[in-house]
Amino acid sequence: MTFSAEKTNMIEFRDVHKYYGDYHALRGINATIKAGEFFSLLGPSGCGKTTLLRTIAGFEDISSGAVLIDGKDMANVPANIRPTNMVFQSYAIFPHLTVEENVGFGLRKDPRSKDEKARAVAEALEMVGLKGYGKRAAHALSGGQRQRVALARALILKPKVLLLDEPLSALDKKMREQMQVELIKLQRQVGITFILVTHDQEEALVMSDRIAVMFEGQIAQLADPETLYRRPASKKVADFIGTMNFLPAQVISDSGATVEIDAAGFGRMSLSPDQVMRGDSEGGPTIGLRPETLTILFDGQTASDREVFGTVEEVVYYGDMTYYDVSLPGAPEPMRLSMRNVPGRPVLDRGAQARLGWSPGAVVLFR
């Protein structure tokens, strides 16, 4: 990634606000999306992620601020001449046209000859794995096939940005996972900036280079998947992305370089500045620990770092994983932790005593 610094900004939001009557749907969005990036807008329904996507496509006017695509302000630029194409949530495959007529829909003004256009359509269909489907009626396609047609129809126009509005939400789990991988491959192959809207945190983590987590019309955090998961900026983000255990803590000293805390159940520890998330002080200082950063130590194992003792309250067996709720003395709520079921590792019963290994490096502090 040596040239990543040279990547140009493809999309720029400058203090974008959107009102629907009295409803403030977008509340000051500032963000940039780089060229060639797989970017996701992630959030619960009603957070404004689809509205934000539609401001890029030109289907939604903004109340104030600016949206720039490739450095150009898109104010008063209608949807049909923006360098973006969209895969709609419903796919919007025209029912009165065949597959190839759908894919070639946007080529009417293309100066190429009829044969060349037909070849382009065939290539686009081949790219999405629908070779030979051109003559089929659109209504005879399955959900997954419709989505591929929608992709081919958008990509054939070689947009600067491809917008995907919850494209996988209508598919079943298997199909969805398969399409996730295919979309990532496709994005690498064509090199176009992809912007995905999703409410599925797993999908966002799997597919994206960077993710903007949105709540109530604002971006709560914009980061790469790992940072988002390991260093969530607020308890809300932490809770939305995966599972996190929260425990109250007391701040003993905060020198800026290190922060000394005393957390319920875990005792004293010192944290480096990147582990401290400031600005989320609601409910007092709180530490967060992901379930997989806690390990049950079986006989003979020693902790890499620190150890605590607790009682197993609940066991949930998932086949490949076992989830435990373990109560720690001094902690108000049991800790959720997950263990991979590797051969030879026993599954503990309820009421068993457990020795937990953990590391202060995995802790985040919200204050």
Binding site: F59, P78, N80, F88, A92, F94, H96, G106, R108, A154
Partner: protein, 296 residues
Amino acid sequence: MNRGSSSGRFRNTEAANGLMMVSPTAIYAVLLLAAPLIAVVLYSLMVDSKVGLSAGLTFDNYIKVWTGRIDQALMLRSLTVSAMVTLVTVALAYPVAYFVSFHVRPERKSMWIFLITIPFWTSYLIRVFLWKVILGYNGVINSGLMNLGIIDEPLTVINYSLGSMIMTLAHAYAAFAILPIFVSLEKIDRSFLEAGQDLGESKLMTFFRVTLPLSMPGVIAAVLIVFIPTIGDYVTPELIGGGKLPMIANRIEAIMLKQNDKALGSAIAMTAMLIVAAVAVVFLLLNRRFLKGQSK
């Protein structure tokens, strides 16, 4: 319980239930539609003389109708008038339906549809009379223009003309054209229109490439609903045309009642019906083409 189980089973099948439910209507339809139709077909094959109908089973009546200059001319006029009426009605109804479907807030749509049907609360005959009052020799327009001094004597173009007949009929069938078009426009997923624009087409081109083709089933329904009754319209040529521009229905009336030639009248009626049927079949085939892609 076991005895007669086969008939019991039949009574319980869905098909039997369906037949039971439609049977009153079916009997009604057979008695009032099929029976008279068969009678007309039989009449048209007979010979009507001063003595009465005689069972001849001959095609003479049809030959007379198909070769008769008057019948040909009136049939042609009927076709022209109803084609014009259909064209005018559907062309005017489409923008209204489009406006209500696309530009009226969803909670107001049913009120708009309700308002559109208001003129149809009065009878067809009264509405035709009102057009006569408006367009007539001493009608609202003529006397108004004369009082304003714009014209010296009543305009005759606006009464007793094909134009005024078309205007009257187009108004009479407006709601019947608006409703099916409205329904077909309502069914169009709005994301299709966004997709059209997203793929580079202007709003106007999106209308021609997406909205219009997707609303064709409604347009074709409107065409049939307007075309079929207007071709046999009797009242408007009589009142608005002043009897000077008779259509095929007036001809049938004259032959059947004034000349008392039931056989010839029936042959004209059958001919008109066959022509309407042929036109309807063409449109139904067109409709099938457009409906093909819209099972979902």
